[in-house]
């Protein structure tokens, strides 16, 4: 049985994707039971059973996908203590770092913990690995994200523009004010070109963990002038139920056949949809023992079945676009 913690935008997409992968027994937990019941009612039927459970009952699942707002640390610890594998979609730097400290606990309980299995982080690491296979060596990765998933994701995006971005630069972690460092990034249509700014994203930390050979890693988010001006104050307008079309762009630089090469790959899709499909594919990999090494891992790491995950994600309807020069 697979558990889903959180029945919002990402949780719904996880449930839909798991159904696509023919998982018949899914349990859902949400702090607001009515939302979980609505999701179960919408997707249950035929041979597929989605049951609404309480927090403790999640411990009977083999793997639980945490899709609620961060932090995921305490619930992940509870589940790992009960030998339940965990897939976290957290996109908060502190939470991701705390989750990585649970590696020893996961090993002791023979469970798997996947940290940052969403769009950014998550899909970004998979795309880096996908591109890295066509290089002899890579040394730079630059990630840019456009759009938000559900309301919790929108609040995180708001915070990401007001904190401190962290990036790996020539052997040291550099902290720079989020919202600085404008760079025009092109995403596939219908997203197009957007100004991107440094953001408090966990991507550099997790990508550097998966690719220790990298010399430079940065993470940026798109933002308007209004986003940047109001990022320092609390959100005055409540976020929408779901953001519009989003995009994820990964630029990799390295060497191939003795020449310097830059390659770009991107996704244009709703961020919640990408996050849900990535998280569900990762949970599917754990259930089918494609991922069976106990401990905390990040997507893109050599120990992960990255190619298989990318194939599953594309099979679930997420299209990749590569930038080709004229």
């Amino acid at each position: 049985m697979i558990g889903i913690g959180g029945a919002g935008v990402v949780g719904s997409r996880v449930a839909e994707t798991l159904r696509l992968f023919s998982h018949q027994q899914i349990c859902v937990y949400d702090t607001e039971q009515i939302i979980a019941q609505r999701l179960a009612g919408r997707l249950s039927g035929g041979e597929y059973q989605i049951s609404v459970v309480d927090r403790n009952a999640m411990k009977s699942a083999k793997v639980v996908v945490l899709c609620g707002p961060s932090p995921h640390f305490s619930i992940a610890k509870e589940l790992l203590d009960a030998s339940v594998s965990v897939v976290s979609t957290s996109d908060d730097i502190a939470d991701c770092l705390n989750l990585l400290t649970l590696s020893q606990l996961a090993i002791e309980n023979k469970a798997v913990l996947i940290v940052g299995a969403a769009s950014s982080p998550g899909m970004s690491g998979l795309l880096v690995r996908h591109l890295a296979e066509s290089f002899d060596s890579i040394d730079e990765v630059h990630v840019a994200l456009h759009g938000t998933g559900g309301p919790a994701c929108a609040r995180q995006h708001h915070r990401a523009l007001s904190g401190q971005s962290i990036g790996w630069h020539d052997g040291e972690w550099l902290r720079r004010p989020a919202g600085s460092g404008r760079e025009l990034c092109w995403f596939p249509e219908p997203v197009g070109a957007y100004d991107c700014y440094r953001g408090e994203l966990p991507d550099p930390l997790l990508i550097k963990r998966a690719f220790p050979e990298l010399e430079r890693v940065t993470g940026r988010v798109t933002a308007t002038r209004r986003d940047r001006v109001f990022s320092r104050v609390p959100m005055m307008i409540p976020p929408q139920a779901e953001g519009g079309m989003g995009g994820l762009r990964v630029e990799v630089r390295g060497m191939k056949s003795g020449a310097r090469l830059v390659d770009v790959i991107a996704v244009a899709e709703r961020v919640g949809q990408v996050a849900g499909v990535v998280a569900a594919s990762t949970a599917h990999a754990i259930v089918t023992n494609k991922i069976d090494k106990p401990g905390a891992h990040v997507l893109g790491d050599k120990s992960m079945p990255n190619s298989w995950l990318v194939s599953q994600i594309c099979g679930a309807g997420i299209n990749l676009h590569s930038f080709v020069r004229a």
Binding site: E189, H321, R325, A326
Partner: protein
């Protein structure tokens, strides 16, 4: 004294506006991509 100060402020503002205007309208803008585009990756293993 006050009039002199106001004149200086107005002069500074007008010079700044003129410079900003020149940069804005004569600056090299970013046009549409002319050197490439996006191609859908049909089979990730083939890319």
């Amino acid at each position: 004294m006050a009039v002199k100060f106001i004149r200086r402020v107005l002069l500074a503002v007008s010079v700044a506006s003129a410079v900003a205007g020149v940069i804005r309208f004569k600056g090299k803008g970013v046009g549409a991509i002319k050197q490439g585009g996006w191609r859908k990756v049909t089979d990730p293993k083939q890319n």
